[in-house]
C-alpha cells in the first residue's frame, strides 16, 4: 500500500464542505467589511500614491514631482523641522508623563483620581486650542511673555509647548498602565537584597516599564509629526510637513505637490508604526497571574516632591485651558478686560457659525454610532469566522493601516479618490457622509483593536455551542456577544465621538459650506483674526467632549451595577 513509512497515501475522497446558509451570511459579512476597507482605506491611498507620479493634467511623469520637491529648499527643509519638533516634543512629553505616572503609581500623594482626570483633559480639546492659549500667554501682548526672554513663541518653541500639552494624556495613559502592571514581589526582593532606591529604580522600575515607554515615544512622535493644528496656529514661518500639505492644497491648489508631501509625511509615520509593532512583538508577559500589585508606602520627602511635580503639571494643564476660556470671555484683550459673551456670536464671525457646532455634534454622533457598529461587527467576523484564512489576514492588515496614516494625508487621499471623475461614490463628496466615513477610517485601528481584545476574551466555543443548538451565529451575536462586550462597545463609541469632535486634520479638506465643523471653525476664525471666538469655539468642543465623557462614565457604571450578577471582574 505504502512505499515507506513516510509516504502516507490517502485513498479516501477529499471532502468539500457544504456551505450552509450561515456560512453564506458570514462570508457575505466578511466580503462587505473587505469591500468597505478597500473603498475607505486602500483605494484612496492608492490614488494619492499615483497622483504623486502625475502632473496637473493627470499624465504620468515618474519621479518628476519628487525631484522638484527635493530641489525646493523651502519644501524639503520642512522634513528637518518636522523631525526636530517631533523628537523634542517626544522627549519632553514622555519625560513629564513618566514623572507624573510615577507619582500616581509609586507615591502616596493625595487626590490621585483628580490628578489623573486633569491629565486626561487635553484629549478633549482640538490641538488648535493650546496653540491659541499660547498666543495669549506668550504672544506680542502675552500675559507672561517675559518668560521667553525675547524669544518668539511663533516657531519651534510654541509648537513644542502646544504639542507637549496635547500629547501628554496619550503618553500618560500608556506609561501609567505599564507602571501599574508591576509586581510588588520584585520590589520586596530588591529591598531584601539591600538595593538602594535608585538602584531599584534602574533595575526593577525602568525595565518593567520599558515597553510602555517605547510605545509612548512612538505614539507621541507620530501624533506630533502628523499634527496640523498646533503648527498651523503657532508655527509662524517655521514650516512643517503637515502644514505644507495644507498650504500646497488650499493655498496653491498644487494637488500633486500636496500628494508628494503627504507621502513624505507618511514615511516616518509608517516607520514608527512598523518599529513599534516589531518591538512590542518582542514583549513577553512580565506579569504572571500570581503577581501582587505594588502598594507604595508613605515617604514624606518623596511624596512631597512628587506632589509638587504633579501639582505643577496639573496647574499648567488647567492654566492653559483657563487662559483659552478667559480669552473667550474677555471683551478686548488686553485693553478691555470686562467679561462678555460677544465671542459666542459665532454667526457674526468670518469662518464660524453655531451651525458648525451642530454639524460637529451630528457628525460625531453618526461617527460613533455607525463606526462602532461597523468596526465591532467587522472585528467579530474577522475573529470568529472559520476558514478564509487569507481573506481574513488581508482584512486584518487593512484594519491596521489607518493607524499609520496621518489624518491630513487621509483627507487628501479622500479628495483624490471620491472627487475623481467617474467614481460612482462621488455623490458623497461635500456631504456629511464623507466626513463621517473619513473620521471612522482615521480612528479605525484603535477601535478595532479594542473590539478584538474584548472578543478574544470571550469563550472560543460560543459559536460551536450555538451551532450545535441550531441557533444561527448572528442570533448569538445579538443575544450574547454584544451584551457581554457592552463595556468595550461603549469605549469604542466614546473614543470615536470625542475624536470626531476634536479632529481637524482628517476633515480640513473635506468639509463644504453646508458641512462646516466646529474644529474647522476654530481654525478658520483664528485664520481670519477672530482669535477670541476661536478660543470660545475650542472650549465649546472641550465642554461637549467632557459632558459626553461624563455621560459615558455614568452609563458604564450603571451598566456595571446592573450586570454585576453575571460579570465577575
Amino acid at each position: 500500500m505504502t512505499d515507506g513509512p513516510q509516504a502516507v497515501v490517502i485513498e479516501a475522497p477529499l471532502v468539500k464542505p457544504k456551505v450552509g446558509r450561515e456560512n453564506w451570511v458570514m462570508r457575505a459579512g466578511l466580503a462587505v467589511i473587505g469591500v468597505y476597507l478597500l473603498v475607505a482605506v486602500v483605494f484612496p491611498l492608492y490614488t494619492i500614491l499615483s497622483k504623486s507620479f502625475q502632473d496637473s493634467r493627470g499624465l504620468f511623469v515618474g519621479l518628476d514631482n519628487y525631484a522638484e520637491y527635493f530641489a525646493t529648499p523651502a519644501l524639503f527643509y520642512s522634513i528637518n523641522n518636522s523631525l526636530t519638533v517631533s523628537v523634542i516634543s517626544m522627549v519632553i512629553t514622555v519625560g513629564l508623563a513618566f514623572g507624573y505616572a510615577y507619582g500616581l503609581t509609586r507615591s502616596c500623594i493625595p487626590g490621585k483620581g483628580v490628578f489623573k482626570a486633569i491629565a486626561l483633559i487635553p484629549i478633549l480639546a482640538p490641538s488648535l486650542l493650546p496653540a491659541i492659549s499660547l498666543r495669549y500667554l506668550f504672544g506680542a501682548q502675552g500675559m507672561i511673555k517675559g518668560l521667553l526672554m525675547g524669544e518668539t513663541i511663533y516657531g519651534p518653541i510654541g509648537i513644542v509647548i502646544g504639542e507637549v500639552f496635547w500629547t501628554f494624556p496619550h503618553a500618560l495613559l500608556i506609561i501609567f498602565t505599564a507602571l501599574s502592571l508591576s509586581d510588588a514581589r520584585l520590589y520586596e526582593a530588591a529591598e531584601a537584597l539591600g538595593a538602594s532606591k535608585l538602584r531599584t529604580f534602574f533595575t526593577v522600575t525602568l525595565p518593567g516599564a520599558k515597553y510602555g515607554l517605547i510605545s509612548a515615544c512612538f505614539v507621541v512622535f507620530t501624533l506630533v509629526i502628523t499634527d496640523f493644528g498646533v503648527p498651523k496656529v503657532i508655527g509662524g514661518g517655521y514650516n512643517v510637513l503637515a502644514v505644507d500639505i495644507y498650504k500646497q492644497v488650499v493655498g496653491q491648489r498644487n494637488f500633486q505637490m500636496g500628494a508628494v508631501v503627504g507621502l513624505v509625511l507618511l514615511a516616518p509615520a509608517l516607520l514608527a508604526f512598523v518599529a513599534d509593532r516589531m518591538i512590542q512583538g518582542k514583549q513577553v508577559a512580565l506579569l504572571s497571574a500570581r503577581a501582587v500589585p505594588y502598594e507604595p508606602k508613605p515617604d514624606r520627602r518623596f511624596d512631597l516632591a512628587m506632589l509638587a511635580f504633579c501639582g505643577t503639571v496639573a496647574f499648567v494643564i488647567i492654566g492653559i485651558l483657563a487662559v483659552a476660556q478667559f480669552a473667550a470671555l474677555v471683551k478686548f484683550w488686553p485693553y478691555n478686560l470686562s467679561l462678555v459673551l460677544d465671542s459666542y456670536q459665532f454667526d457674526l464671525m468670518d469662518g464660524g457659525s453655531w451651525g458648525a457646532f451642530w454639524n460637529s455634534l451630528k457628525m460625531a454622533a453618526w461617527t460613533a454610532v455607525i463606526g462602532t457598529a461597523v468596526i465591532f461587527t467587522g472585528a467579530y467576523l474577522v475573529e470568529k469566522s472559520k476558514g478564509f484564512e487569507h481573506g481574513r489576514g488581508l482584512i486584518q492588515l487593512m484594519c491596521m493601516i489607518p493607524l499609520a496614516v496621518p489624518g491630513i494625508v487621509l483627507g487628501l487621499a479622500y479628495i483624490f479618490f471620491f472627487n475623481a471623475v467617474g467614481n460612482p461614490l462621488g455623490f458623497i463628496y461635500h456631504t456629511l457622509i464623507i466626513l463621517v466615513l473619513c473620521t471612522i477610517t482615521h480612528f479605525y485601528t484603535v477601535s478595532h483593536l479594542t473590539a478584538a481584545t474584548a472578543l478574544k476574551q470571550m469563550d472560543a466555543e460560543f459559536e460551536a455551542v450555538s451551532s450545535s443548538l441550531k441557533v444561527p451565529f448572528y442570533k448569538t451575536f445579538v443575544r450574547v456577544t454584544v451584551p457581554v462586550c457592552i463595556p468595550a462597545i461603549l469605549d469604542i463609541s466614546i473614543y470615536l465621538f470625542v475624536n470626531a469632535m476634536t479632529t481637524v486634520s482628517a476633515v480640513i479638506f473635506l468639509y463644504s459650506a453646508d458641512t462646516q465643523l466646529a474644529s474647522v471653525a476654530v481654525l478658520n476664525m483664528d485664520d481670519a483674526g477672530d482669535t477670541a471666538p476661536a478660543a470660545a469655539m475650542g472650549m465649546m468642543i472641550v465642554y461637549t467632549s467632557a459632558t459626553v465623557r461624563l455621560l459615558h462614565f455614568l452609563l458604564t457604571r450603571g451598566i456595571a451595577r446592573r450586570t454585576q450578577a453575571w460579570r465577575k471582574r
Partner: protein
C-alpha cells in the same frame, strides 16, 4: 476469556455512527490519519490518549466544527461528511463549559429550544425536567458566575441534552474540576447516559475516567487509533506497547522469541515461558506483564514460568506494596510486582529476600520490537 459484549451485540445491528478513513490536515500537518471507527446506538465511547494525539480533532470532525479533509462520516444512515454543524444532530459540552454568562441557567438551557418555536410553557416544562435530571432543580434564575464549576458543567450538560440530540459529544468535560467533584460527576454522567440511552462520545486523557465510564475505549496515539475495545480488553490485552504503557502500570522486559510460543529473557536464566503470541525464532521482542499479575504465593520452584528473584526494594503504597525485583543471576533484568499487605506479612517479604515468582502465561503480552 473476556467477551467483547458490545462489539458482538453490535455486529447484528448497523452502527449508529460510522467513521471511514477520516484524515484531517492542518496545512502540512496531519492531525489524524485514516481513522476508521464504528459507534453503536446507546453506546458510551471514550477517545483516550495523551494530549495532542488528535482526540479533539476527531470529535470536532464528527461534529462538523472542523470538517475532515478526507474521509466519510455517516450518522444514523445519513452521510454527514460535508454538512455544517447546524445540519447535523448532536449536543456538545466543552471543558470550558462555554455557558453564556449574560443568560440565566434557565435561559442557557432553553437556548436551543427557543429557536425551535416551541411554546413557552413547553420550554419551561422541558427546562425544569432537564434541571431536575442533572440534579439542579430551582437553580434556574441564577447566572453561571454564581455556580460552582461542577454545577456549571451540569448546566452545560442539560443545555446540550435539551434538544434531545441523537449524539452527545463531550470534550474533556471533567478536566477543569476538582478531583472530588470529578469522581462524583463521572458517575452522574454515566448514570444519566444509561438512563437516556443517548449515544455518547467522550474525549479524555484520563485513563481512570475512560476505564470507569466507557462501554468501549478508543485508544489514540499520534493521530491513529491503536486499539478499540472494552475497558477490560484494553487493560488485559493491550494491542500495542503504547497502549500497554499508557493504561495502568506495566513491566517491559527485553526478550528473544523462541519460535515455538516461548520467549527467553537475557538468553540465560529463564526459558520456556509460555506465550500466547508466536514470533519467529530469534526475533527481538518486548515482554509485557502487569505488576499485579506476578504471583509468588504457593509457587514451587520448577513450576511453569517460575524463577528466583531478589527483592531490591519495597515501597508501601497504602493498600499494597510495590516490590522491585531482579531475576537471580541476571541483575539487569529488573521488574516490579505488586504484593498485598497480607502477602508481605505472611511471607515476611523484605528487601534482600529471594522469592520464587511466576509470570502467568495467560497474562503475558509479547510485542515484536520495531
Amino acid at each position: 476469556m473476556e467477551t467483547d459484549t458490545s462489539a458482538a451485540a453490535g455486529e447484528a445491528r448497523p452502527p449508529y455512527l460510522k467513521v471511514e478513513n477520516v484524515t484531517k490536515k492542518f496545512g502540512d500537518f496531519t492531525a489524524i490519519k485514516d481513522i476508521c471507527l464504528e459507534v453503536f446506538e446507546s453506546e458510551f465511547v471514550c477517545f483516550l490518549g495523551p494530549s495532542g494525539c488528535g482526540k479533539t480533532t476527531l470529535l470536532r470532525a464528527i461534529a462538523g466544527l472542523d470538517i475532515q479533509t478526507h474521509g466519510r462520516i455517516e450518522q444514523a444512515g445519513r452521510d454527514i461528511s460535508n454538512l455544517p454543524p447546524t445540519e447535523r444532530d448532536f449536543g456538545i459540552v466543552f471543558q470550558s463549559y462555554a455557558l453564556f454568562p449574560n443568560l440565566t441557567v434557565f435561559k442557557n438551557v432553553a437556548y436551543g429550544l427557543e429557536n425551535r418555536k416551541t411554546a413557552k410553557a413547553d420550554i419551561a416544562a422541558r427546562v425544569d425536567e432537564l434541571l431536575q435530571l442533572v440534579g439542579m432543580p430551582d437553580q434556574g434564575p441564577k447566572y453561571p458566575a454564581q455556580l460552582s464549576g461542577g454545577q456549571q458543567q451540569r448546566v452545560a450538560l442539560a443545555r446540550a441534552l435539551a434538544t434531545s440530540p441523537g449524539l452527545l459529544l463531550l470534550d474533556e468535560p471533567l478536566s477543569a474540576l476538582d478531583a472530588k467533584v470529578r469522581v462524583r460527576l463521572r458517575h452522574e454522567i454515566k448514570e444519566l447516559q444509561r438512563k437516556l440511552g443517548v449515544t455518547t462520545i467522550m474525549v479524555t486523557h484520563d485513563q481512570e475516567e475512560a476505564l470507569t465510564m466507557a462501554d468501549r475505549i478508543v485508544v489514540m496515539n499520534e493521530g491513529v487509533i491503536d486499539q478499540v475495545g472494552t475497558p477490560l480488553e484494553i487493560y488485559r490485552r493491550p494491542a500495542s506497547p503504547f497502549v500497554a504503557d499508557f493504561i495502568g502500570a506495566m513491566n517491559f522486559l527485553s526478550a528473544v522469541a523462541g519460535g515455538d510460543g516461548t520467549v527467553r529473557i537475557d538468553g540465560v536464566g529463564l526459558s520456556a515461558i509460555e506465550c500466547v503470541c508466536v514470533q519467529d525464532e530469534g526475533t527481538a521482542v518486548t515482554l509485557c506483564l502487569r505488576p499485579e499479575d506476578i504471583v509468588t504465593r504457593g509457587v514451587e520452584s520448577g513450576a511453569p514460568n517460575a524463577f528466583e528473584a531478589t527483592v531490591a526494594d519495597l515501597e508501601f503504597l497504602g493498600s499494597f506494596y510495590r516490590a522491585s525485583l531482579t531475576a537471580k543471576g541476571v541483575e539487569n533484568t529488573r521488574f516490579q510486582a505488586d504484593f498485598s499487605v497480607n502477602l508481605v506479612r505472611d511471607l515476611g517479604i523484605e528487601a534482600g529476600k529471594t522469592l520464587t515468582v511466576a509470570f502467568p502465561a495467560d497474562r503475558i503480552r509479547v510485542f515484536a520490537d520495531s
